[in-house]
């Protein structure tokens, strides 16, 4: 029996019109650890992926695909990694139904665009110091942006 009813599918399809590029949903399961939840999670992800030809799904096993799990920092199941043209660091633990379902859909869209919808202030504070410091030995303000609020010693911590 499908998790998403036709009305849900139509609403998600409408949202997915904003997808701007390929997205991969990497699912980690482990049937011995949480069989029902993992099965439900896989089904949900597959149903979501069917609503856009930009979405692909990869199902991995936490116990078998250990290197991949470690690379993604995954140590619980069920888990979902939402990747766009790069790994943005977006993870879900548990089946994202209910309130979390809209977050899953939104995360797929933002992962595809790479363009977060945030205020100028938030973008400035989270983006300015996102690159590695060019020279760790020179004291003073962040060299990337003269208006950056971070001192160089703090910059690398965000």
């Amino acid at each position: 029996m499908p998790i998403l009813n036709p009305r849900d599918q139509a609403a998600v399809r409408k949202e997915f019109e904003r997808i701007a590029g390929p997205v991969k949903l990497v699912v980690f399961s482990q049937s011995l650890a949480a069989p029902e939840l993992c099965q439900q999670n896989e089904q949900l992800v597959r149903e979501v992926a069917e609503l856009s030809d930009q979405i692909t799904v990869e199902i991995l096993n936490l116990a078998i695909d250990r290197e991949r799990a470690e690379a993604y920092g995954i140590d619980q199941v069920p888990a979902i990694v939402v990747e766009g043209n790069r790994d943005w660091g977006i993870r879900f633990y548990g089946v994202p139904l209910g309130y979390e379902f809209s977050n899953l859909i939104d995360s797929i869209i933002v992962a595809s665009t790479g363009e977060p919808v945030l205020s100028e202030e938030t973008l400035a504070s989270t983006s300015r110091c996102s690159r590695p410091r060019p020279d760790r030995t020179v004291p003073g303000p962040c060299a990337w942006h003269s208006t950056c609020r971070w001192r160089r010693s703090e910059c690398a911590r965000l």
Partner: protein, 67 residues
Amino acid sequence: MRLAQHMSVASERVRSTVIEANEFPELSRAYQVMGVPKVVINDRVQFEGAVPEPDFLGAVLQAVETP
């Protein structure tokens, strides 16, 4: 949660993990989750409930500023 995920895209130094509290009771106990949504940042700053974007940003900055 949306803010955390968008911040993840905005900065390579931000990662976000959404955890279904009922399905992970051990994590919920570890983080003393009494209500959701609850946000924990770097195990240093935490708050419950939805907050405006400036407050969320403030919490993130506080988490990285705390010695």
